[in-house]
């Protein structure tokens, strides 16, 4: 029986090898182009895509203070389920954005927001995020909390709940604040609906809506 593979002359084989190598290089270049098209896209994916660029901050290093990767823990707290979290401030891998992230120290999960480095508060007086698990129905929401960082002219911050209550939250030395939503309130359908910032005179300087609205 004749072999299905015909023996090719050496010159033909060499051409084929060069062709395949060329195609391989072309494929690699195309892949790079696809990757390049993501530049300017999501944070952490703005450079090359490898573990070093995992968005945005791998959980490692000391629990408090400056991390080895240059990020800074501005507040530490326990969520309603008792799991420790850090509020972490740091810049993106390309240094174009600054991010405030809620990091679950048990799982490494992250949630937060990023603004341009030259406008860290995004034109507001504070940067904050509401994060939670469960839902979308409010009765099944767990571990809801708000983390934030206020500008230096903010003297106090309050959380406004859907039942009309207003609760002051403390600003720490970094200007960070944390509010853990009481699980009992969530069960009753009560949720935070706004975060309000005041200056030293008590004048409202910013208000941002929030909420678990599904």
């Amino acid at each position: 029986m004749r072999s299905p593979f015909r023996i090719k002359p050496r010159r033909v084989l060499r051409r084929r090898v060069l062709l395949v190598v060329g195609l391989a290089l072309l494929a690699a270049a195309s892949a790079g182009a696809v990757r390049a098209s993501l530049w300017g896209g999501p944070i952490g994916l703005t450079k090359s895509v490898d573990k070093a660029d995992a968005p945005p901050f791998p959980v490692r290093g000391p629990r408090n203070g400056l991390r080895p990767d240059g990020t800074r823990v501005i507040a530490s707290f326990k969520a309603a389920n008792g799991i420790s979290h850090d509020a972490v401030l740091g810049s993106s891998s390309d240094s174009k954005k600054i991010c405030l992230l809620d990091v679950n120290l048990a799982t490494g999960d992250e949630a937060g927001g990023c603004n341009p480095t030259d406008d860290a508060f995004g034109g507001r007086r504070f940067l904050m995020s509401l994060s939670y698990d469960g839902g979308p129905a409010i009765g099944s929401v767990r571990n809801a909390h708000i983390i934030g960082l206020a500008a230096s002219d903010v003297a106090s911050v309050a959380i406004v709940s859907s039942d009309g209550a207003r609760k002051d939250v403390a600003l720490n030395a970094s200007g960070a604040f944390v509010y853990v939503v009481p699980p009992g309130e969530l069960k009753r359908g009560v949720q935070p609906v706004a975060v309000v910032a005041y200056d030293a005179s008590g004048k409202q300087v910013d208000r941002q809506a929030t909420g678990i609205t599904g």
Partner: protein, 130 residues
């Protein structure tokens, strides 16, 4: 380019085939590795208040991002599993980028994003460990 005389029982043709196969495998690997980064599942486009979008389900999605044209727009990202359809690691804010990262744990999940105001934005889901 020349090859040394091949060892007995290992023809020149087989060596070339190995070289060719290796090159093809390398090319496919390079292309596939980048394809696993992620994709934009909505936008960039204009969103109305309350409008939302979902990606397809995958176990590899661990990064979900909604980015607006600038900061100040209220929006949300989360992951939805395809067993209980519960939300995971939901985050809502007015930052330029609203991001959630839910570690891969074998659970099939989709990225979901929603606008709480009119804005111009896109949503992206991917695997940051690719």
């Amino acid at each position: 380019m020349s090859l040394a005389r091949p060892a007995a029982g290992f023809s020149r043709t087989r060596i070339w085939r190995l070289v060719v196969t290796g090159a093809v495998v390398s090319a496919v690997f390079a292309a596939t590795a980048d394809a696993m980064v992620g994709y934009y599942y909505a936008g960039p486009k204009s969103w109305a208040n309350g409008q939302d979008a979902s990606s397809s389900y995958a176990t590899t999605h661990n990064f979900n991002d909604m980015s607006a044209s600038s900061a100040g727009y209220d929006k949300m990202t989360t992951f939805v599993d395809n067993v209980s359809y519960s939300w995971h690691n939901t985050v809502r804010n007015t930052a330029y980028e609203t991001i959630a990262r839910w570690a891969s744990n074998g659970t099939s999940r989709k990225g979901y994003c929603k606008a709480y105001t009119s804005l111009y934005a896109y949503c992206f889901v991917g695997n940051s460990n690719a």
